[in-house]
Symmetry: C2
Subunit: 356 residues, 2 copies
């Protein structure tokens, strides 16, 4: 069966401020040594399995220009623009109806555009196995990450080691982000994987699940599908999306559906959740600094410094994140990276939209 | 006797980098809440004692434009431009010969242009007393600062409490910057004052001392004096300055001369030796931060942050100095302010003159 991919690129993350902005979110930034942006890496990674013409990008209208600039080889009609963000269920549904219209049925690989994966071949092998499981009739398939810490920032998936389908394990249940105690129990039990947000299923299968668990959304998606290629396409898309409830595929479908399988693999997954991730993906110098741009660092250790044009000189610093941008400079203690959002709250409160 | 002032403004300090540059040294910066530059404050401070037309500025040619901009009321002919910097003895000598030519004799108050004084009226009272002592025939008079710490960065002056002239004490000797142990002894002895670099003497008297202790310099100065107002003035100035040895007034004259008196006063003197001085002269907020410019400071305490146009956002910082400038940003741990010069060494080594 034809393999397709839907790459979700509508996110508006704040955690890479001041480089990431409303008009330039994380998936369009380059955070690795190779200079490629996150979305470019995501497309490149899946190309051995899915032809460029079968890759779809779901994004916000505002980012269409960025997608075209960063992915010039992608057919323009494969860029699906959501009129408004309604979380992942409508987004995935939009991809599914376009694929249903074009291919009838297909295996659909759903990928976030802002994660990094270290070992592409291991990843591709897991995706390939997942495709086989989906094609052989499993309802829904997902990729899970073996936890190495009691993370409270991720959802978890409990699997049943007794039920398998090839390399895939049956999913017992999806659980939301746990508190630390619960996360520690999950980690110790060795029966939980992190929810990676990557899914593999047949187009027909996900549409069936949407019909069952989110019937209103499904009805709207069906109207969108009917309008594809007609003069009413844009108008219908606009109207239906405005009416959709905002719901994640996890909450709307995965937590309710049955016959779900999960594949895990040690492919070096990283959701690149903050500036700290830079240290895992860029080369540090002998003093533990990750530097880019024009930096003079005197007695400076274990810092992340991202210049941009202007010279940055540091003396006697440790464990700091310094990020320059054309109109704003961030200086943040490493263990406070999670509080960069407080800067944005302050800016929002002061109506300083130009910095968001 | 007429009172005149010579304000020395030829320095090229590095300690306020990146705001201070070769083409904009510290004396032309504003480091206080009132927005006035150091040299403007120096002139303003002495005006109750010396008329503007009797104030001379000795500076480098490169800074003549800055002096005129910042002191528009000062007669242009009172700006004395040294062709090259030869330390304070030739600089003071140049002022003295101009004053000798114009006034015959006068009381000459010599002031650095890059110090701050908190209590102007106490200062003026000390200077006024010093003028009287000089006029009454003391060879040389200087202002001393009562030490409140064993500073190793200043020269010291030992006085003889047994010999006085009015409020002035006789100087026993000038001593160079001591090591910490010696500085502690000086402090404990209560017989030493810091050398402030401020002097009061008759023009005839300093010229007599220059003739005695630096006869070659004096001979050159005499030729400069003869040429003042003639077509050869610039040419003679250029030639003589090139030939002068570089020597400080302390080393060249004060350490050798006799009949020196010193006046001390609690006028809140500060040589503004580094960015840390900012905390003594600007208002801190409730978190101990001295902020200027466009700053969003989250959980930031005891920091000095000087913005310039661009937004600076900080999260979780303490005890840092952050200074932005159009082409360079400095981030320095407070207790490492003395090592800002290492940044400049690095820039010099890399031939990055544009940043110096």
């Amino acid at each position: 069966m034809k393999k397709t991919a839907l790459i979700m690129a509508g996110g508006r993350g704040e955690r890479f401020w001041p480089k990431s902005r409303k008009n330039l979110p994380k998936q369009f930034l380059s955070l690795t040594d190779d200079g490629k942006t996150m979305i470019q890496l995501t497309v490149e990674r899946i190309l051995p399995l899915v032809a460029m013409e079968d890759i779809y990008i779901a994004t916000n209208r505002d980012y269409k220009r960025l997608v075209r600039e960063q992915l010039p080889d992608l057919p323009e009609e494969n860029i699906l623009c959501e009129p408004v963000g309604r979380n992942t269920a409508p987004c995935i549904g939009l991809g599914a109806v376009h694929m249903a219209k074009r291919y009838g049925d297909a295996v659909m690989i759903v990928l976030p555009s802002d994660h990094l994966i270290k070992y592409n071949s291991i990843f591709l092998s897991a995706v390939s196995d997942a495709c086989a499981v989906a094609e052989q009739g499993a309802n829904l398939v997902t990729l899970g990450i073996t936890p190495d810490a009691p993370e409270t920032g991720y959802g978890y998936i409990k699997f049943d080691p007794g039920r398998t389908s090839g390399r895939a394990l049956a999913v017992e249940r999806f659980v939301e982000k746990p508190d630390l105690e619960t996360a520690k129990e999950y980690l110790a039990s060795e029966q939980y994987l992190w929810n990676s947000g990557m899914f593999i299923w047949k187009v027909s299968s996900i549409l069936g699940n949407l019909e069952k668990y989110l019937p209103d959304t499904y009805a709207g998606l069906a109207r969108i599908q009917q309008a594809i290629g007609t003069p009413a396409q844009e108008e219908v898309l606009e109207r239906e999306f405005q009416g959709f409830q905002s719901v994640s595929i996890d909450y709307g479908v995965m937590e309710k559906a049955e016959d779900i399988y999960i594949l895990s693999g040690s492919f070096g997954w990283d959701d690149v959740g903050s500036w700290l991730a830079i240290e895992r993906h860029r080369t540090s110098n002998e003093f533990g600094n990750v530097l880019s741009g024009d930096i003079v660092a005197i007695d400076t250790t274990d810092c992340i410094i991202q210049g941009e044009g202007k010279l940055i000189a540091t003396v006697g610093l440790e464990d700091l994140i310094v990020v320059d941008s054309p109109d704003a400079t961030l200086i943040c203690k490493k263990d406070r990276a999670g509080d960069i959002k407080k800067v944005l709250e302050n800016l929002r409160m002061c109506n300083r939209e130009e910095y968001l």
